[in-house]
Protein backbone atom coordinates (compact mmCIF):
# COMPACT_ATOMS: atom_id res chain seq x y z
CA UNK A 1 0.00 0.00 0.00
CA UNK A 2 2.79 2.37 1.02
CA UNK A 3 4.68 1.46 -2.12
CA UNK A 4 1.55 2.09 -4.18
CA UNK A 5 1.24 5.60 -2.78
CA UNK A 6 4.89 6.58 -2.58
CA UNK A 7 5.84 5.61 -6.11
CA UNK A 8 3.28 7.76 -7.91
CA UNK A 9 3.90 10.54 -5.39
CA UNK A 10 7.63 10.45 -6.09
CA UNK A 11 7.00 10.54 -9.83
CA UNK A 12 4.58 13.41 -9.31
CA UNK A 13 7.04 15.48 -7.27
CA UNK A 14 9.90 14.81 -9.70
CA UNK A 15 7.74 15.78 -12.67
CA UNK A 16 6.51 18.93 -10.92
CA UNK A 17 10.07 19.99 -10.15
CA UNK A 18 11.07 19.33 -13.76
CA UNK A 19 8.19 21.40 -15.10
CA UNK A 20 8.92 24.22 -12.64
CA UNK A 21 12.59 24.28 -13.63
CA UNK A 22 11.62 24.26 -17.30
CA UNK A 23 9.28 27.22 -16.80
CA UNK A 24 11.86 28.95 -14.63
CA UNK A 25 14.39 28.70 -17.46
CA UNK A 26 11.88 30.47 -19.71
CA UNK A 27 11.53 33.39 -17.35
CA UNK A 28 13.49 36.60 -17.89
CA UNK A 29 16.07 35.32 -15.41
CA UNK A 30 17.20 32.83 -18.02
CA UNK A 31 15.56 34.34 -21.05
CA UNK A 32 16.18 34.33 -24.74
CA UNK A 33 19.17 36.07 -26.30
CA UNK A 34 18.29 39.45 -27.67
CA UNK A 35 15.74 40.34 -25.06
CA UNK A 36 16.12 43.67 -23.26
CA UNK A 37 18.46 43.68 -20.33
CA UNK A 38 18.15 44.30 -16.68
CA UNK A 39 20.06 47.13 -15.05
CA UNK A 40 20.09 48.76 -18.47
CA UNK A 41 17.46 51.41 -18.79
CA UNK A 42 18.33 51.83 -22.47
CA UNK A 43 17.75 49.02 -24.94
CA UNK A 44 19.86 50.72 -27.57
CA UNK A 45 20.44 47.75 -29.86
CA UNK A 46 16.75 47.09 -30.40
CA UNK A 47 16.09 50.67 -31.56
CA UNK A 48 15.66 51.47 -35.24
CA UNK A 49 17.76 54.12 -37.01
CA UNK A 50 14.86 56.55 -36.78
CA UNK A 51 14.37 55.89 -33.07
CA UNK A 52 18.05 56.47 -32.37
CA UNK A 53 18.06 59.81 -34.17
CA UNK A 54 14.84 60.77 -32.39
CA UNK A 55 16.39 59.75 -29.07
CA UNK A 56 19.35 62.09 -29.53
CA UNK A 57 17.10 64.89 -30.73
CA UNK A 58 14.87 64.41 -27.68
CA UNK A 59 17.93 64.96 -25.54
CA UNK A 60 18.28 68.41 -27.10
CA UNK A 61 21.65 67.70 -28.65
CA UNK A 62 23.44 69.97 -31.10
CA UNK A 63 23.32 68.36 -34.52
CA UNK A 64 25.78 68.50 -37.42
CA UNK A 65 24.67 67.17 -40.77
CA UNK A 66 28.11 65.88 -41.80
CA UNK A 67 31.79 65.82 -40.89
CA UNK A 68 32.49 68.95 -42.95
CA UNK A 69 30.07 70.94 -40.82
CA UNK A 70 31.56 69.44 -37.66
CA UNK A 71 35.05 70.37 -38.88
CA UNK A 72 33.97 73.99 -39.39
CA UNK A 73 32.94 74.17 -35.76
CA UNK A 74 36.00 72.66 -34.10
CA UNK A 75 39.63 73.67 -34.07
CA UNK A 76 41.26 70.27 -34.50
CA UNK A 77 41.47 67.98 -37.50
CA UNK A 78 38.46 65.66 -37.43
CA UNK A 79 39.19 62.15 -38.63
CA UNK A 80 36.47 61.46 -41.15
CA UNK A 81 35.99 57.84 -42.20
CA UNK A 82 36.13 57.21 -45.93
CA UNK A 83 34.91 53.66 -45.44
CA UNK A 84 31.64 53.31 -43.50
CA UNK A 85 30.80 49.80 -44.70
CA UNK A 86 28.23 51.26 -47.06
CA UNK A 87 26.23 52.74 -44.21
CA UNK A 88 24.84 56.25 -44.69
CA UNK A 89 25.50 58.96 -42.09
CA UNK A 90 22.31 59.80 -40.17
CA UNK A 91 23.69 62.71 -38.17
CA UNK A 92 26.42 63.85 -35.81
CA UNK A 93 25.32 64.79 -32.31
CA UNK A 94 26.88 66.71 -29.42
CA UNK A 95 25.22 67.10 -26.02
CA UNK A 96 24.36 70.77 -25.64
CA UNK A 97 25.72 71.18 -22.14
CA UNK A 98 29.24 69.92 -22.65
CA UNK A 99 32.20 72.25 -22.69
CA UNK A 100 34.44 69.99 -24.73
CA UNK A 101 34.12 68.17 -28.02
CA UNK A 102 32.19 64.97 -27.46
CA UNK A 103 30.36 63.86 -30.58
CA UNK A 104 28.58 60.73 -31.72
CA UNK A 105 28.22 60.10 -35.45
CA UNK A 106 25.28 57.80 -36.14
CA UNK A 107 25.27 55.69 -39.28
CA UNK A 108 22.68 53.30 -40.62
CA UNK A 109 22.32 49.79 -39.26
CA UNK A 110 24.08 50.14 -35.96
CA UNK A 111 27.40 51.75 -36.85
CA UNK A 112 28.46 54.68 -34.70
CA UNK A 113 31.64 56.63 -34.19
CA UNK A 114 32.32 58.60 -31.02
CA UNK A 115 35.04 61.22 -30.72
CA UNK A 116 35.60 62.50 -27.22
CA UNK A 117 38.30 64.83 -26.00
CA UNK A 118 40.00 63.51 -22.93
CA UNK A 119 43.16 64.76 -21.31
CA UNK A 120 43.93 61.46 -19.66
CA UNK A 121 45.06 58.70 -21.98
CA UNK A 122 43.75 55.24 -21.15
CA UNK A 123 46.07 52.53 -19.91
CA UNK A 124 44.83 49.54 -21.91
CA UNK A 125 47.33 47.11 -20.37
CA UNK A 126 46.13 48.01 -16.91
CA UNK A 127 42.53 47.72 -18.08
CA UNK A 128 43.11 44.16 -19.30
CA UNK A 129 44.65 43.34 -15.94
CA UNK A 130 41.54 44.71 -14.26
CA UNK A 131 39.30 42.69 -16.60
CA UNK A 132 41.21 39.53 -15.62
CA UNK A 133 40.71 40.34 -11.93
CA UNK A 134 37.02 41.10 -12.48
CA UNK A 135 36.59 37.74 -14.19
CA UNK A 136 38.11 35.92 -11.24
CA UNK A 137 35.89 37.87 -8.83
CA UNK A 138 32.79 37.14 -10.92
CA UNK A 139 32.15 40.81 -11.66
CA UNK A 140 32.80 40.62 -15.41
CA UNK A 141 29.50 39.87 -17.18
CA UNK A 142 30.62 39.98 -20.80
CA UNK A 143 31.19 36.81 -22.83
CA UNK A 144 34.16 38.47 -24.54
CA UNK A 145 37.61 39.65 -23.59
CA UNK A 146 39.01 42.92 -24.95
CA UNK A 147 42.14 42.54 -27.03
CA UNK A 148 44.93 45.02 -27.68
CA UNK A 149 45.94 45.42 -31.31
CA UNK A 150 48.01 47.91 -33.28
CA UNK A 151 46.50 49.81 -36.19
CA UNK A 152 48.95 51.86 -38.22
CA UNK A 153 51.27 51.72 -35.23
CA UNK A 154 48.65 53.03 -32.79
CA UNK A 155 47.58 50.89 -29.85
CA UNK A 156 43.86 50.10 -29.90
CA UNK A 157 41.50 47.92 -27.90
CA UNK A 158 38.78 45.86 -29.54
CA UNK A 159 36.35 42.98 -29.28
CA UNK A 160 33.80 41.27 -31.49
CA UNK A 161 30.06 41.59 -30.75
CA UNK A 162 28.62 39.25 -28.17
CA UNK A 163 26.46 39.20 -25.09
CA UNK A 164 26.46 40.41 -21.53
CA UNK A 165 25.12 38.10 -18.85
CA UNK A 166 22.90 40.40 -16.82
CA UNK A 167 21.12 38.64 -13.97
CA UNK A 168 21.16 35.50 -16.09
CA UNK A 169 19.91 37.15 -19.27
CA UNK A 170 21.86 37.36 -22.50
CA UNK A 171 21.88 40.98 -23.57
CA UNK A 172 23.59 41.86 -26.86
CA UNK A 173 26.63 44.09 -26.79
CA UNK A 174 28.37 45.75 -29.74
CA UNK A 175 31.66 45.03 -31.43
CA UNK A 176 34.14 47.87 -31.02
CA UNK A 177 37.53 49.35 -31.76
CA UNK A 178 38.80 52.19 -29.57
CA UNK A 179 42.02 54.13 -29.56
CA UNK A 180 43.44 57.30 -28.11
CA UNK A 181 45.34 59.80 -30.16
CA UNK A 182 46.32 63.40 -29.64
CA UNK A 183 44.06 64.08 -26.68
CA UNK A 184 40.92 62.33 -27.86
CA UNK A 185 39.25 58.95 -27.49
CA UNK A 186 38.02 57.48 -30.75
CA UNK A 187 35.45 54.69 -30.51
CA UNK A 188 33.82 52.79 -33.34
CA UNK A 189 30.82 50.64 -32.33
CA UNK A 190 29.05 48.16 -34.53
CA UNK A 191 25.95 46.22 -33.54
CA UNK A 192 26.65 42.72 -34.83
CA UNK A 193 29.63 44.04 -36.85
CA UNK A 194 32.84 42.05 -36.30
CA UNK A 195 36.19 43.68 -35.57
CA UNK A 196 37.48 42.58 -38.98
CA UNK A 197 34.92 44.91 -40.61
CA UNK A 198 35.28 47.72 -38.07
CA UNK A 199 39.01 47.65 -38.75
CA UNK A 200 38.38 48.94 -42.28
CA UNK A 201 36.50 51.93 -40.84
CA UNK A 202 39.27 52.64 -38.31
CA UNK A 203 42.00 52.43 -40.95
CA UNK A 204 40.09 54.76 -43.24
CA UNK A 205 39.93 57.32 -40.43
CA UNK A 206 43.60 56.99 -39.56
CA UNK A 207 44.63 57.18 -43.21
CA UNK A 208 42.52 60.30 -43.58
CA UNK A 209 44.59 62.14 -40.97
CA UNK A 210 46.40 65.02 -42.67
CA UNK A 211 47.96 66.83 -39.75
CA UNK A 212 47.85 64.15 -37.12
CA UNK A 213 44.77 63.61 -35.05
CA UNK A 214 43.67 65.20 -31.82
CA UNK A 215 42.75 68.62 -30.56
CA UNK A 216 45.09 71.59 -30.55
CA UNK A 217 43.25 73.38 -27.79
CA UNK A 218 40.32 72.92 -25.44
CA UNK A 219 38.07 75.57 -26.94
CA UNK A 220 34.35 75.04 -26.76
CA UNK A 221 32.19 74.28 -29.71
Amino acid sequence: MTKKVLLPLGVLVAAAISISLFCYAKLPFGGEPGSPGAHQYMDWQSMSDEERVAHFRDLGQIEFKDFAELQRNVDFPVLEPTNTLGRRLLGIFQPAGRPIVDVTALFENGLQICICRNETPPDYQNYLKQVAEDKVAGYWKSDGTPKIIKINGIEAICDDPGFNDIEGRKVPRPGYICWYDGGANYSIYGDKIPVSDLLAVAKSMMNNSKEGSGPKSQNNL
Binding site: L27, A38, C116, P122, S142, P146
Partner: protein
Protein backbone atom coordinates in the same frame (compact mmCIF):
# COMPACT_ATOMS: atom_id res chain seq x y z
CA UNK B 1 -8.41 2.34 -13.79
CA UNK B 2 -4.84 2.89 -14.89
CA UNK B 3 -5.96 5.58 -17.35
CA UNK B 4 -7.88 7.32 -14.57
CA UNK B 5 -4.75 7.37 -12.39
CA UNK B 6 -2.71 8.90 -15.16
CA UNK B 7 -5.37 11.56 -15.70
CA UNK B 8 -5.31 12.46 -11.99
CA UNK B 9 -1.53 12.61 -12.07
CA UNK B 10 -1.62 14.89 -15.12
CA UNK B 11 -4.12 17.23 -13.43
CA UNK B 12 -1.91 17.34 -10.35
CA UNK B 13 1.08 18.24 -12.50
CA UNK B 14 -0.82 21.05 -14.20
CA UNK B 15 -1.98 22.43 -10.86
CA UNK B 16 1.51 22.27 -9.41
CA UNK B 17 3.01 24.15 -12.36
CA UNK B 18 0.33 26.87 -12.41
CA UNK B 19 2.02 29.40 -10.10
CA UNK B 20 5.12 29.36 -12.30
CA UNK B 21 3.04 29.60 -15.47
CA UNK B 22 1.31 32.69 -14.14
CA UNK B 23 4.71 34.26 -13.61
CA UNK B 24 5.49 33.63 -17.26
CA UNK B 25 2.52 35.66 -18.46
CA UNK B 26 4.11 39.07 -17.99
CA UNK B 27 7.67 37.97 -18.55
CA UNK B 28 10.09 38.69 -21.34
CA UNK B 29 9.99 42.46 -21.18
CA UNK B 30 11.94 45.05 -19.28
CA UNK B 31 10.09 48.09 -18.06
CA UNK B 32 11.76 51.26 -16.93
CA UNK B 33 10.80 54.73 -15.90
CA UNK B 34 13.74 57.12 -16.04
CA UNK B 35 14.05 60.70 -14.86
CA UNK B 36 16.89 63.01 -15.77
CA UNK B 37 18.03 66.50 -15.01
CA UNK B 38 17.44 68.26 -18.34
CA UNK B 39 19.50 71.26 -17.27
CA UNK B 40 22.84 72.03 -18.89
CA UNK B 41 24.68 70.56 -15.91
CA UNK B 42 22.51 67.43 -16.07
CA UNK B 43 23.99 66.67 -19.48
CA UNK B 44 27.59 66.92 -18.34
CA UNK B 45 27.46 65.73 -14.74
CA UNK B 46 30.58 64.21 -13.22
CA UNK B 47 28.40 62.54 -10.63
CA UNK B 48 24.86 61.82 -9.49
CA UNK B 49 23.69 61.75 -5.89
CA UNK B 50 20.34 61.19 -4.23
CA UNK B 51 18.27 59.44 -1.59
CA UNK B 52 16.04 56.47 -2.18
CA UNK B 53 13.59 54.38 -0.19
CA UNK B 54 13.88 50.58 -0.02
CA UNK B 55 10.32 49.33 0.33
CA UNK B 56 9.23 47.12 3.23
CA UNK B 57 7.87 44.32 1.06
CA UNK B 58 8.62 44.81 -2.65
CA UNK B 59 6.70 42.41 -4.89
CA UNK B 60 8.94 40.44 -7.23
CA UNK B 61 7.96 37.30 -9.10
CA UNK B 62 10.17 34.25 -9.41
CA UNK B 63 13.18 34.83 -11.64
CA UNK B 64 12.62 38.55 -11.86
CA UNK B 65 13.66 41.68 -10.03
CA UNK B 66 13.22 45.37 -9.36
CA UNK B 67 16.01 47.96 -9.44
CA UNK B 68 16.16 51.54 -8.16
CA UNK B 69 19.36 53.27 -9.20
CA UNK B 70 21.25 56.38 -10.20
CA UNK B 71 23.32 56.67 -13.37
CA UNK B 72 25.85 58.80 -15.12
CA UNK B 73 25.48 57.70 -18.74
CA UNK B 74 28.08 59.12 -21.07
CA UNK B 75 26.15 59.71 -24.28
CA UNK B 76 22.76 58.19 -23.66
CA UNK B 77 23.23 54.88 -25.45
CA UNK B 78 23.89 52.65 -22.46
CA UNK B 79 27.29 51.57 -23.84
CA UNK B 80 29.31 53.61 -21.33
CA UNK B 81 27.83 54.32 -17.92
CA UNK B 82 28.34 54.08 -14.17
CA UNK B 83 25.41 53.06 -11.93
CA UNK B 84 24.71 52.65 -8.24
CA UNK B 85 21.58 51.42 -6.49
CA UNK B 86 19.79 48.45 -5.06
CA UNK B 87 18.10 45.39 -6.44
CA UNK B 88 15.55 42.95 -5.07
CA UNK B 89 15.65 39.64 -6.85
CA UNK B 90 13.64 36.44 -6.43
CA UNK B 91 15.07 33.02 -7.19
CA UNK B 92 14.01 29.51 -6.26
CA UNK B 93 15.89 30.09 -3.01
CA UNK B 94 13.75 33.12 -2.14
CA UNK B 95 13.95 36.89 -2.30
CA UNK B 96 17.31 38.63 -1.98
CA UNK B 97 18.09 42.30 -1.48
CA UNK B 98 21.44 43.85 -2.24
CA UNK B 99 23.22 47.10 -3.04
CA UNK B 100 25.24 47.13 -6.22
CA UNK B 101 27.59 49.20 -8.30
CA UNK B 102 27.76 48.59 -12.01
CA UNK B 103 29.40 50.01 -15.07
CA UNK B 104 29.57 49.45 -18.77
CA UNK B 105 32.62 50.20 -20.90
CA UNK B 106 32.20 49.92 -24.64
CA UNK B 107 29.18 47.75 -23.94
CA UNK B 108 31.02 45.33 -21.61
CA UNK B 109 28.89 45.11 -18.48
CA UNK B 110 30.42 44.70 -15.01
CA UNK B 111 28.38 44.28 -11.86
CA UNK B 112 29.38 44.05 -8.20
CA UNK B 113 26.75 43.34 -5.60
CA UNK B 114 26.91 43.74 -1.85
CA UNK B 115 24.57 41.79 0.38
CA UNK B 116 23.80 42.76 3.96
CA UNK B 117 24.37 46.49 3.61
CA UNK B 118 20.74 47.52 3.22
CA UNK B 119 17.47 46.29 4.65
CA UNK B 120 13.81 46.54 3.79
CA UNK B 121 11.89 49.65 4.85
CA UNK B 122 14.91 51.93 4.99
CA UNK B 123 16.23 55.09 3.35
CA UNK B 124 19.67 55.28 1.79
CA UNK B 125 22.00 57.76 0.24
CA UNK B 126 23.57 56.84 -3.11
CA UNK B 127 26.42 58.46 -5.01
CA UNK B 128 28.28 57.62 -8.18
CA UNK B 129 30.93 60.06 -9.34
CA UNK B 130 34.10 60.60 -11.27
CA UNK B 131 36.86 60.33 -8.71
CA UNK B 132 40.23 61.22 -10.21
CA UNK B 133 41.95 60.76 -13.54
CA UNK B 134 40.43 57.66 -15.10
CA UNK B 135 38.84 56.45 -11.84
CA UNK B 136 35.19 56.47 -10.73
CA UNK B 137 33.89 55.85 -7.22
CA UNK B 138 30.60 54.46 -5.87
CA UNK B 139 29.17 55.24 -2.40
CA UNK B 140 26.40 53.95 -0.18
CA UNK B 141 25.44 56.17 2.77
CA UNK B 142 28.70 58.05 2.36
CA UNK B 143 30.87 54.96 2.53
CA UNK B 144 32.87 53.81 -0.45
CA UNK B 145 31.53 50.75 -2.22
CA UNK B 146 34.16 50.61 -4.95
CA UNK B 147 36.71 52.63 -6.88
CA UNK B 148 37.36 51.45 -10.42
CA UNK B 149 39.51 52.54 -13.34
CA UNK B 150 37.12 53.20 -16.21
CA UNK B 151 40.12 53.72 -18.51
CA UNK B 152 39.29 57.36 -19.16
CA UNK B 153 36.33 56.42 -21.31
CA UNK B 154 34.22 59.16 -19.83
CA UNK B 155 34.38 61.62 -16.97
CA UNK B 156 30.86 63.02 -17.25
CA UNK B 157 27.48 62.24 -18.75
CA UNK B 158 23.73 62.40 -18.32
CA UNK B 159 22.53 62.37 -14.72
CA UNK B 160 19.67 59.88 -14.35
CA UNK B 161 17.40 58.31 -11.72
CA UNK B 162 15.90 55.03 -12.85
CA UNK B 163 13.28 52.53 -11.73
CA UNK B 164 13.32 49.18 -13.52
CA UNK B 165 11.50 45.86 -13.40
CA UNK B 166 11.52 42.79 -15.56
CA UNK B 167 8.01 41.49 -15.18
CA UNK B 168 4.56 43.00 -14.90
CA UNK B 169 4.23 41.13 -11.61
CA UNK B 170 7.12 43.10 -10.09
CA UNK B 171 6.86 46.40 -8.36
CA UNK B 172 8.39 49.35 -10.14
CA UNK B 173 7.84 51.80 -7.33
CA UNK B 174 10.66 54.19 -6.53
CA UNK B 175 11.00 57.34 -4.50
CA UNK B 176 14.03 59.57 -5.10
CA UNK B 177 14.73 62.84 -3.37
CA UNK B 178 17.61 65.24 -2.80
CA UNK B 179 18.82 64.59 -6.36
CA UNK B 180 22.04 66.34 -7.27
CA UNK B 181 24.52 66.72 -10.13
CA UNK B 182 28.24 67.16 -9.69
CA UNK B 183 29.99 69.67 -11.94
CA UNK B 184 33.51 69.48 -13.39
CA UNK B 185 34.93 71.28 -10.34
CA UNK B 186 33.50 68.71 -7.99
CA UNK B 187 30.73 70.91 -6.61
CA UNK B 188 27.28 69.37 -6.08
CA UNK B 189 24.18 71.23 -7.28
CA UNK B 190 20.54 70.28 -6.91
CA UNK B 191 18.81 69.06 -10.05
CA UNK B 192 17.16 72.10 -11.60
CA UNK B 193 15.00 70.57 -14.33
CA UNK B 194 13.76 67.10 -13.41
CA UNK B 195 12.13 65.62 -16.52
CA UNK B 196 10.97 62.27 -17.75
CA UNK B 197 13.40 60.70 -20.18
CA UNK B 198 12.02 57.25 -20.72
CA UNK B 199 8.90 55.36 -19.71
CA UNK B 200 8.02 52.09 -21.38
CA UNK B 201 6.24 50.76 -18.32
CA UNK B 202 2.54 50.27 -19.03
CA UNK B 203 1.59 50.72 -15.40
CA UNK B 204 4.08 52.97 -13.65
CA UNK B 205 4.68 56.64 -14.40
CA UNK B 206 6.88 59.47 -13.24
CA UNK B 207 5.32 61.70 -10.61
CA UNK B 208 7.44 64.82 -10.29
CA UNK B 209 7.17 66.43 -6.86
CA UNK B 210 9.88 69.02 -7.45
CA UNK B 211 13.09 69.38 -9.43
CA UNK B 212 14.87 67.21 -6.86
CA UNK B 213 12.19 64.72 -5.90
CA UNK B 214 10.08 62.22 -7.82
CA UNK B 215 8.11 59.01 -7.48
CA UNK B 216 7.82 56.22 -9.99
CA UNK B 217 4.38 54.95 -9.10
CA UNK B 218 1.11 53.46 -10.32
Amino acid sequence: MRGKGLLVMWLCLVLLSLPVSYALAGGGALYSVVARDASTLGQSATGTHGHNYVMSDPAVVLGSFHVSSLYVDHNGTGYNFAEVGWCVHRTLLGRSLYAFCAYSLDGNYTHRHYGGLISYNSNHDWTVRHYSGTYWRWYLDGSELATVDLKGKFTYGYSLASSERNNSGDTNYSHFWGLQDRNSSGVWYSWSNLSQWKDNDPDYRLNKVSNTECYMQL
